[in-house]
């Protein structure tokens, strides 16, 4: 047995030149081959690459898509993100449990199926969704489940199941992202300028990053370009892990050329020869097509050596597949992950533009940002700057999900009010709108006049709508559970703080909180926000902090105070074991 896979692991490692930087790819290939990566396999990898075993185990143990124990032949990952649960994911989950006779986290006796939960898989507009053997299934109903299982047992390919179709759901096309582009046009325009002039053109457009932080793109490229180093890298952040975001899915499906065009222009501007697209593991099903587009572009001379005939400008792109970790969307964690390590954020400074991938200057840009850059080179910075608002130029791709008639992706001009957006998507009786995903802000109706923009309500693209019948605080609680799951564990305020926050919040939701617990909840939330090391922890208390004032009534109605007696303490329950162990009865005691 041992020898049999040792050889195969050797071949896999060989395929990547026995390069430690490809450790993640090696582990992914091993999982693809054997279904898991055991401690023994880890030891082989370490030996072959001549690195300490802990380095390999450290990486492998971090990612949820790198199982260390054998899973069933078919792995079902049902998304339990907030919107999915609103749309019935729990019932679908029960149907799977019933049909397979196992609970979540278990494998059937015949080793045919493993049933797991996973976070948002970028399909909230067609929820509930699941990945079965990495193939996405959408709009699942409990009644579908028996047939799905029967079909798979009968040997049918998952991709041939009727539920295995991802709707594009592009509901509104704007003029920046969703417009036709003649491949190479923007690159040729860029090559007619000096790299500095390309950056100046982007500067004219006042483009800001679409990934969340809203950093001016021209400034980022300029910083990167000015670093004294012969080697620089460009990374496209296609990790799209923020719950309720799926606009990059649509862009990568419908406009991959625009993304690669933007990456190539960025490479030219900052002086990089190599670009990496970091694609979240949940989007593995997009990989084949993306590779095809890359091959076509190489064939057309839009990638590779001497691009568009320009002597000396070479640039190529490789796609790095992630393995199911939200924190890897954070740029420094993403870089660590792309280097084949566990995805823990780095200390900053130095910033990625100073020391990024392989410690060289690196610009990390969101998928949509790069699309905007390509369009700007096609149509000009001034044209772009006329769209949107003063501080938020251009359009924004919004992923809209939840309680509305037309969930999907909308390309809207920056500055649209929540009110207008709700009308556009057919939402009625809205209780709250979550802008910017779990880490964003929960907006109350009194603020529906506010605008989607960097200066007012920023969002990486996630818009989740909660109708008036939803238990809003339960949804917020699920967000916190998500952060607990996704915390990388490096720093205490986030690792322990999110759990403390969840416990206190649960107490209140269960009607066991006092006025004091509310104050404690606020205090924990503020500590987690102020003391955490990276953006994940710093925003993980937002579900509480952005509802505790604007939705104070929802908290107040659950708070009780009974002469200092805490409702969390249940004396009867605490006595139960002692009474049973000594053979006494409750009647005997007061």
């Amino acid at each position: 047995m041992t020898h049999h896979y040792r050889e195969q692991i050797k071949n896999i490692a060989n395929k990547y030149g026995n390069d430690r930087g490809y450790l993640m790819n090696i582990a992914q290939d091993i999982v693809k081959e054997f279904g898991y990566i055991s401690d023994e396999m880890v030891a082989h990898v370490a030996e072959i690459l001549n690195i300490p075993m802990v380095q390999v185990r450290d990486m492998v143990s971090f990612y949820s898509f790198l199982p260390r124990k054998p899973l069933g032949k078919n792995v079902i990952r049902l998304s339990n993100a907030v919107i999915e649960r609103m749309k019935g994911a729990d019932e679908v989950g029960k149907a799977f449990e019933k049909e397979l006779g196992i609970s979540f986290g278990e494998t059937t006796k015949d080793n045919l199926f493993t049933l797991l939960h996973t976070a948002c898989i970028g399909l909230s507009d067609q929820a509930p969704g699941a990945l079965i053997n990495n193939v996405p299934l959408t709009n699942l109903k409990p009644a579908d489940v028996p047939q799905i299982i029967r079909d798979i047992k009968a040997g049918k390919n998952v991709s041939d199941l009727p539920q295995a179709r991802v709707l594009l759901n592009l509901k509104k096309e704007g003029e920046v992202i969703c417009a036709p582009l003649e491949s190479g046009q923007a690159i040729r325009n860029a090559l007619n300028m000096k790299p500095e002039e390309v950056i100046a053109e982007i500067n004219k457009s006042r483009l800001r990053g679409r990934g969340g932080a809203g950093f001016p793109t021209a400034m980022k490229w300029d910083f990167c370009r000015k670093q004294k180093s012969p080697i620089r890298y460009l990374i496209c952040n296609a990790d799209e892990g923020e719950p309720g975001t799926f606009k990059d899915r649509v862009i990568l499906t419908e406009y991959p050329d625009l993304v690669f065009e933007g990456m190539t222009i960025a490479g030219y501007a900052i002086g990089a020869k190599e670009g990496i697209m970091y694609l979240r593991g949940e989007y593995a099903y997009l990989l084949d097509n993306l590779e095809k587009v890359l091959a076509k572009r190489r064939h057309l001379g839009l990638l590779g050596e001497n691009i568009c005939g320009r002597e000396g400008f070479s640039f190529d792109i490789r796609i790095q597949l992630g393995a199911g970790a939200y924190v890897c969307g954070e740029e420094s964690a993403l870089i660590e992950s792309a280097e084949g390590k566990r995805g823990a954020p780095r200390d900053r400074p130095p910033f990625p533009v100073q020391k990024g991938y392989k410690n060289e200057p690196t610009s990390v840009n969101n998928v949509e940002t790069l699309c905007c850059a390509a369009r700007i080179l096609e149509k000009g910075g001034e044209w772009f700057a006329k769209i949107g608002t003063k501080d938020s130029t251009g359009t924004k791709m919004l992923s809209v999900s939840g309680d509305c008639e037309h969930p999907g992706v909308y390309e809207v001009e920056y500055g649209i009010t929540i009110e207008n957006l709700l009308e556009l998507v057919g939402a009625k009786d809205t209780q709250a709108v979550q802008v910017g995903g779990a880490s964003g802000k929960c907006v109350a109706p009194k603020d529906f006049g506010r605008r989607i923009s960097f200066e007012d309500l920023p969002t990486g693209g996630s818009i989740m709508i909660f109708g008036k019948n939803r238990d809003l605080l339960e949804c917020m609680h699920q967000f916190i559970e998500f952060f607990i799951e996704e915390s990388c564990g490096w720093c205490v305020p986030c690792r322990a703080g999110t759990t403390l926050l969840e416990k206190k919040f649960r107490q209140i939701l269960d009607g066991k909180g006092t006025v004091q617990s509310l104050a404690e909840l606020r205090r924990i939330a503020q500590t987690v926000k102020a003391m955490s090391r990276c953006g994940l922890g710093q925003t993980s208390a937002n579900p509480v902090l952005t509802t505790i004032y604007d939705f104070a009534d929802l908290y107040a109605e659950r708070i009780k105070e009974e002469d200092g007696k805490l409702l969390t303490f249940d004396l009867q329950k605490a006595m139960k074991v002692g009474i049973e162990a000594s053979g006494r009865t409750m009647e005997g005691v007061k």
Binding site: D563, G564, L571, A574, M575, G578, E580, A581, V589
Partner: protein, 182 residues
């Protein structure tokens, strides 16, 4: 003006914290001048006879009697101060929390090496003895606690300074040495 009323309570602890209260030496004479004592092991008053201004409690909560008396304290005391590691965290007695109660009892009364012979032990079940709780709880998990004084035990000076500050309604400034434990 009538004197402020103080009560002290002892739960699952070693009485060390109470010894520390007594350790204020001759200041105890001042204390008797300053306050009136109600329920306390020091004077052996068993039941509250009037509302109390400050309650001082030692020890964690390990059985139903502890829990009920602590709730009495909460009911009668305007301010409740937990002192010592046992009251604050469960302390040494809470080491049993690592083992399920049933196993603890079986080891102590049925299977332990000091149980005389097999099948003769029984787990005490007299209705008069308190029922052990599933684990030892810190006081603040049972009732609301207003102030905490850490230490095992907190020193006499810590307790004295805290009490005086509370009685005078002044802010409490404890010297670093008084609250440094490592």
């Amino acid at each position: 003006m009538s004197k402020p009323v103080v009560a002290t309570g002892h739960f699952t602890g070693c009485f060390g914290c109470h010894m520390s209260i007594l350790d204020i030496d001759e200041r105890i004479l001042d204390l008797v001048e300053l306050v009136e004592f109600n329920k306390s092991p020091i004077n052996d008053i068993k039941h509250f006879t009037k509302p109390v201004d400050i309650g001082i409690i030692e020890g964690g909560i390990s059985n139903d009697e502890n829990a009920e008396i602590l709730m009495e304290f909460r009911k009668h005391c305007k301010i409740l101060v937990a002192i010592g590691a046992c009251a604050l965290t469960g302390g040494v007695p809470s080491m049993r929390n690592l083992v399920p109660l049933k196993e603890c009892l079986e080891e102590a009364y049925l299977n332990g090496p000091t149980v005389k012979s097999e099948n003769t032990g029984i787990i005490p079940n007299d209705p008069d003895i308190p029922v052990l709780l599933d684990k030892v709880y810190p006081c603040h998990e049972v009732v609301k606690i207003d102030y905490f004084l850490p230490g095992c035990p907190p020193s006499a000076d810590t307790i004295w300074n805290a009490l005086v500050a509370l009685l005078k309604g002044e802010p409490l400034n404890l010297d670093y040495e008084l609250i440094k434990y490592d």
